[in-house]
Symmetry: C2
Subunit: 311 residues, 2 copies
């Protein structure tokens, strides 16, 4: 995993900074149980990734929404006393903006000042679409405040249940102690197979090959949206397997649209259906995933959504 | 699993009463997180199974020790306000007595009266050594107060990480909801293989065959202890892969004995080393496991322990 991160995400980690988990759900649960006490405020991007909200609420912590704009998480709006902040700097889930460099610097400075932890969920950034993209926040983490999460759920399969937490060793030891309580043995055969897959360069090759496929799909999505859904504006995003297109907030109309699209055979969700809105988020939009649709099927799918929208 | 329980333990369960977990550690953790709130008192046999103590403490609950005598858990000494009681009726871990039938009836009545849950950890009773043994407490559970835990850790391997929780469906649904947070996917290949292994009768056959091996080892252990360790009294137990022999409490001397035995190549632990003593438990003893030693090696091992004891 350390080698995979070095190759794919440009961060250098030692193996003793890595805990392999059964996917990001377990990673979030372990982090929440290790770092949070009942009632602790947890700062989260709003709209927020529902599984993260669930993990923090299950630990009896209290998610507090922080708005997101075109530069990502609005760091100035972070609550002063959060125990940790959960964020998706590479590709805000689900809206899409990249956390800008000035915001990254400010976020790390905020964590240093307040003593809060930063949980960076880098869930889909093996697939990056811009020529120049920022390395993970973790790469700037001089003070050891960042816990970095990743997985093979996007690159290989969510059914493999392999993810990882990168954190400073003393903190990681505390996370490992909680994992011992609930899940004391590693999945050796799967981990060995994956390690070999990484060491032989086959994961990197697989990502390159699938990136060509996904990149072509993404280009078709963007072209079709521009042509057929002029009411929606593409949120500039640089990574991952979905494009978010924003629209004026009208949840009823978007709900009707997603229902009608589903009836027409196109699975598409609105931002509000995909996320937990924790503060007064005024917008909405559609999350257009292209991980599971063939390139050739995309124009008809977008056309079907456009038909339902205008009809 | 339902079929395995019917065959091996004489309890009839519906598949919708069973949740398959990654072993008993996860089962305990899920049960603790589902049923306990911070500060809740949890009644536990003392000496207690350390992993259960750990699971309950990790949920910020408060283990309270209840003494164990020759009839098992002393039900009269249960605290009036426990949220749940954790117990090992078939073979108290680690001391060994079987919970007597009158105590079982009293325990169920206590749970009915107080509204507490009973967690029955039936960790090793696929291997039973008496001609007539009691079925699990769960088989008497008319009021749906018992959560029954089991695993393949003793019959097949702890590395398989397969265990189960049997509970009334509404309660089980709450446990499943917590599992979704931390570990949302089942280990399909392993579960399918195990289901086939059970359905084809091969697990039952395997238990019968290994029971012959373990039973022979147990007989040798009992014979050698009687001959060579007269200071120790065998605790009458009817199940499982260890025999506990009691001795006057003298932790220093038993610690020295186990250290010297380890140096002589015999891994043996005292009750206090194997368990968490939660109340004023006045005894001690040795836990003689025979799951991992060949029958032919047992006499020399017991002789080595006896030598260290008298030397």
């Amino acid at each position: 995993v350390a080698r995979h991160l070095g190759r794919s995400r440009g961060i250098t980690v030692d193996p003793d900074e890595v805990l392999v988990t059964r996917g990001t759900a377990q990673a979030l649960d372990l982090v929440a149980r290790t770092l949070l006490r009942p009632g602790d405020p947890v700062a989260m991007e709003s709209p927020a990734y529902p599984d993260a909200v669930l993990a923090f609420r299950t630990a009896r912590a209290r998610p507090v929404g922080v708005p997101v704009d075109a530069e990502g998480l609005v760091v100035d709006r972070l609550p002063p006393r959060a125990a940790l902040v959960y964020c998706t700097p590479s590709h805000q889930a689900p809206v899409g903006p990249v956390l800008s460099l000035p915001r990254r610097v400010a976020l790390l400075e905020w964590a240093r000042r307040t003593g809060a932890w930063i949980v960076e969920d880098d869930y889909d950034t093996e697939y990056r679409w811009a020529r120049l993209t920022l390395d993970p926040l973790k790469s700037l983490d001089a003070d050891g405040r960042v816990l970095y999460l990743g997985s093979v759920s996007k690159t290989l399969s969510p059914r493999l249940r392999v993810g990882w937490i990168v954190a400073p060793p003393p903190l990681l030891a505390a996370v490992v102690a909680v994992k011992q309580v609930t899940d004391p043995f590693a999945e050796r055969p799967v981990q060995r197979a994956l390690a070999r897959f990484i060491d032989e360069g086959r994961l990197a090759l697989h990502v390159r090959r699938t990136a060509a496929v996904y990149g072509a799909r993404r280009a078709v999505v963007l072209r079709c949206v521009a042509a057929e859904l002029p009411a929606f504006a593409v949120v500039p995003g640089e990574a991952g397997l979905h494009v978010t297109v924003s629209a004026p907030a009208d949840p009823d109309r978007l709900d009707a649209l997603t229902r009608a699209s589903a009836a027409a055979g196109v699975a598409v969700r609105s931002v509000r259906q995909s996320a937990v809105v924790l503060d007064g988020y005024a917008h909405d939009g559609l999350v257009l995933g292209f991980g599971g649709i063939e390139e050739a099927a995309i124009p008809a799918a977008v056309a079907a959504v456009a038909r339902e929208w205008s009809g």
